[in-house]
Each structure stands twice: as structure tokens, then as C-alpha cells.
């Protein structure tokens, strides 16, 4: 099939950006949006032009490296699917695709379609980890975790850190990401020891770097890991509880 791509080109951070128009011919509909960009880049390299910079790694929806905005939708038109899995088969022959970086105030463009998602790393640095000294590895069943609880923790742990939730949000909020980390950790025995300290630290960073949540729900539609909207309630849930409890 033949597709027209309007792709965002930007030389560097803070440089002015613009859309560039290219036609890619003979592309198979079962290919993904990223493979469309690959084909475009081959064309560009052949003609001696600079290829479009974009990020990807696993190309199987597990690493969180990819992420572009297609026609205004984070990752692409299909809900809960990462860019590397967004197929071209939904587009009619001759369609125009407007491809730009993930958009958010907290994600400055590095180059073309690559953005700096380091603000998410700052959240992890603040509390998306386990800092308790757990000593040597305990016996496997010394600390039993019920199956339901373990499954729930794993569901929240499914976040691949792609940042699409922030880019889909009209408020530039990262509540889905932060809430999934908070729930994943506070459901498990060792990480739950620092539950209060963690939520205070994470929410402080969230406040400084991202927007407030107004419950648009766009994040859960974009999220390739299928993190449910309860994760955004988890942020206030954990924060309110920490405020009510005695600090140790």
C-alpha cells in the first residue's frame, strides 16, 4: 500500500520543529508504524537525507522504549497497544499519517521523534524502588503472599514505563505511572515497610514535575500494559492514608 507520512523533524532540544511530508510506497499492511518509519528511513538514506530519529528496542511490546504520537493519539489509533505493535492494516491505501513525538511539558524533544522521558526516572528515583535492607535472601515461603495479592501486584507491575499515559493526558499528569508503581510495591511484604515514606516522596516529585489529575481517563486508553484507572485513585488513596497515619 501507499501511505503519506507527515513526520515531525526537529534538530535538537529547543530548536524549531516542523512537519515533513514523504510518500512511502509498497509497504505491507501487516507491518507496524515503526516499520513504516524504518521504510521511510531507508528511502531517506538512499536519497542522501538525514533519517528520522526515533526510539525502539524490543519491538514486541515489553520494553517501553518506543512511543510516537500518530494523528494526535499516543502510540497510535488502537487502544492499549504500543507503537511497535500498531499495525498499518487499519489504514486505507493512500492515507496520511501525522507522526510526532510523545507530547507533554515534562517530555522535551531531544531530536525528531525522541523525547526525554527522564522525569519518569526521577519518580522512580524518588520512591519507585525498595530501599529497605532485606539481608540475605529468606526462605521462599518464610513470608507468604496470597495468590490474589501477588496477581494484583503483578498486574500493577506490568507498566513498561513508556510514558504514553503522560502524553495522552490533557493535563500532562503521570498518575497512572506513579499509581501503578505505588500499588505494585505497597502490596508486597518488604516494599510495604516503607509505604508511607514512598508515597510522600513520589507524590512530591509528581507535584513538581507533572500536572494534576482531572480524571480524563485518556491514560488508561493509551496504556499498552492495560494499567486500570484504579491506579490513579491509588495516588490519592496512598497519599491520604499516609497523611492520616502516625509517622514512624
Amino acid at each position: 500500500m501507499k501511505l503519506t507520512v507527515q513526520v515531525w523533524r526537529q534538530a535538537g532540544p529547543g530548536a524549531p520543529g516542523r512537519f515533513e511530508r514523504h510518500v512511502v510506497d509498497g509497504i505491507e499492511p501487516h507491518l507496524s508504524v515503526l516499520e513504516l518509519l524504518d521504510a521511510l528511513n531507508e528511502q531517506l538514506i538512499d536519497s542522501g537525507a538525514e533519517p528520522v530519529a526515533f526510539e525502539s528496542d524490543c519491538r514486541e511490546g515489553i520494553c517501553g522504549a518506543c512511543g510516537v504520537t500518530v494523528d494526535g493519539e499516543a502510540h497510535g489509533r488502537e487502544d492499549n497497544v504500543p507503537s511497535c505493535h500498531q499495525r498499518l492494516s487499519g489504514y486505507a491505501d493512500g492515507s496520511i499519517l501525522r507522526i510526532e513525538p510523545l507530547r507533554a511539558g515534562a517530555f522535551p524533544v531531544v531530536r525528531d521523534l525522541i523525547v526525554d522521558r527522564g522525569a519518569l526516572d526521577d519518580l522512580i528515583r524518588a520512591g519507585g524502588h525498595v530501599a529497605v535492607d532485606a539481608g540475605t535472601a529468606p526462605d521462599a515461603d518464610a513470608l507468604p503472599v496470597g495468590e490474589e495479592r501477588a496477581e494484583l501486584a503483578l498486574d500493577f507491575a506490568a507498566c513498561i514505563g513508556c510514558g504514553a499515559c503522560v502524553a495522552a493526558c490533557p493535563n500532562g499528569a503521570a498518575h497512572l505511572f506513579a499509581g501503578s508503581k505505588l500499588m505494585h510495591l505497597s502490596l508486597l511484604p518488604l516494599p510495604s515497610l516503607e509505604r508511607q515514606r514512598r508515597v510522600v516522596a513520589v507524590v512530591d516529585e509528581l507535584e513538581e514535575l507533572f500536572g494534576p489529575c482531572s480524571n480524563y481517563g485518556e491514560c488508561a486508553r493509551a496504556c499498552p500494559a492495560g494499567i486500570p484507572l484504579t491506579a490513579i485513585a491509588a495516588v490519592n488513596h496512598e497519599r491520604l492514608l499516609a497523611g492520616l497515619q502516625r509517622r514512624l
Binding site: D71, G72, E73, R103, A104, G105, A106, F107, D116, G118, A119, D121, D122, R125, A126, G127, H129, A131, A168, C169, P170, N171, G172, A173, E194, R197, R198, V200, A201, V203, D204, E205, E207, E208, L209, F210, G211, P212, C213, S214, N215, Y216, G217, E218, R221, L229, T230, I232, A233, A234, V235, N236, H237, E238, R239, L240, L241
Partner: protein
């Protein structure tokens, strides 16, 4: 104010981020603002529900309605002086509205800033509902003002001609209301405001569930259902009054 220093409560692992980022260090945190909006919104929703119950007495005739208005002025008399409860309620409502609208303005502005000026695509009911909150909110603020000028203070040019103030425990609320709703612009403005109010309440309760941290399926479903029922009741019950006056069913 841009700065790269992380917050003091950060449990540092690894070297601090070398990248300077835009950080907002000042102001009441958004999560507290949202919690305050949920509480003040719920106070107003409770008032709207009680007010609706009183309004429906209009269909029982002037005596029932005026009696209700007079009762409002003398609740818990003689334990409290006359109008004390009414004034207490008014003070709470005005403060709650101030907090609610102030917080809404700050949250809205922070959201625009964090988006970074990029366009967004809104998909689905939930998203449009959230988009409608500030829109319906601003109209509601105008409505509350008009409503108070019209039927509480009786100030021209909003109030109907011949507005009668309550005197010596006798209320003229029924007559004032009919006089106001006999003016078509007034009646249809009230109906339109009730449509927006019901949208605001329905979406507001879903927001309230998230902002108060309700994570359980049952809590969330219950709060949404309460919001939906109240929204429908407000729309049908309140809007019926100006329509009934316009149609000449009550006079």
C-alpha cells in the same frame, strides 16, 4: 521556577539526576486541592439534593412552599435564634464555593502548563465529561449569582418586578418564583443551568471517587450511581418547575 534540585523527601538511590528540569516548587499541592474540591463539591451536592426536595413543594401549592421557606428561616427555633441555621448554612456554602472554584482554577491552570501547549485528542465520554467540568462550572457560577440576585436578594434587573421580601415570618417565595419564571428568558436559563448542573454532578461524583482514593469496585460503582441518580433527579425535578410555569400548569 526551573531548578534541578530534587525534593528533600526523596530517598536517593544512585547519583542525582544530572538533567535540569522544569519544577514547580510552590503552591498548595494538587492532590490536596483535588481532595478539597471533592469535599466542597460533595457539600454543594448535598445542598442541591436538600434544595431539590424543598423546591418540589411548589407542586403542592403556595402554602406548602411558603411554609417550607418560612421553616428554613426558623429551623431548630427556639434552640437557635431565627435564621441562625440559615445563615450558618449560607456561610458554609459560600466558603465551600470559594474553595471549590479557587481550587478548580489552579488545577486547570496547572494542567494547561504541564501539557506544554500541545494539542490533545479527547476520546470517549469520560474524557469529554472531564473537559466539560470547567465549562459547566463557569456557567454554574454565573447561575448561582443570578439565582441569588433573582430569588433571594430580589435585586433588579435580575429579579422579577414586584419581588416581595419576607417579613415577620411570612415568606412570599411562591409568588416571587412564579413571577420570575413567567419571564421566558428566566425560565429557559434555569432549565439550561439544570442540564449543565446535572452533567457537572454526574461527572463530579466519578471524580470524587478517584480523588478520595476509592479503589474498590463497589465503592466506585456506588459513588457513580449516586451521582447519576442525583443528576437525573436534579434535571427532572428542578427543570420541571420553570417548564410548568411556562406551560401555565402552575400559576
Amino acid at each position: 521556577m526551573p531548578s534541578s534540585s530534587p525534593t528533600s523527601s526523596v530517598i536517593q538511590v544512585g547519583p542525582p539526576s544530572p538533567v535540569p528540569r522544569e519544577r514547580r516548587h510552590r503552591g498548595v499541592p494538587s492532590w490536596s486541592l483535588k481532595t478539597a474540591m471533592a469535599i466542597t463539591g460533595a457539600i454543594w451536592a448535598a445542598f442541591v439534593a436538600i434544595h431539590l426536595f424543598g423546591n418540589l413543594k411548589v407542586f403542592q401549592g403556595p402554602d406548602a412552599f411558603n411554609g417550607y421557606a418560612a421553616w428554613l428561616r426558623a429551623v431548630f427555633y427556639p434552640f437557635f435564634p431565627k435564621e441562625m441555621v440559615l445563615w450558618g448554612l449560607r456561610v458554609v456554602l459560600v466558603i465551600a464555593l470559594g474553595v471549590h472554584v479557587g481550587a478548580a482554577a489552579i488545577v486547570w491552570a496547572r494542567g494547561r502548563r504541564a501539557r506544554g501547549g500541545h494539542r490533545v485528542t479527547l476520546r470517549g465520554m469520560r474524557s469529554w465529561g472531564a473537559w466539560l467540568m470547567p465549562v459547566t462550572g463557569v456557567v454554574l457560577l454565573a447561575f448561582v449569582t443570578v439565582h441569588v440576585l433573582d430569588l433571594t436578594l430580589g435585586l433588579a434587573p435580575v429579579a422579577p418586578e414586584g419581588f416581595a421580601h419576607p417579613e415577620a415570618g411570612v415568606a412570599h417565595a411562591y409568588g416571587n418564583l412564579i413571577a420570575s419564571f413567567q419571564r421566558p428568558w428566566s425560565a429557559w436559563f434555569y432549565v439550561a443551568a439544570m442540564v449543565l448542573l446535572s452533567v457537572h454532578i454526574a461527572k463530579g461524583f466519578a471524580n470524587l471517587a478517584a480523588d478520595l482514593g476509592a479503589m474498590g469496585r463497589r465503592w466506585r460503582a456506588t459513588l457513580s450511581a449516586v451521582g447519576g441518580l442525583l443528576a437525573v433527579a436534579v434535571l427532572l425535578g428542578n427543570a420541571a418547575i420553570p417548564i410548568a410555569v411556562q406551560m401555565g400548569w402552575i400559576a
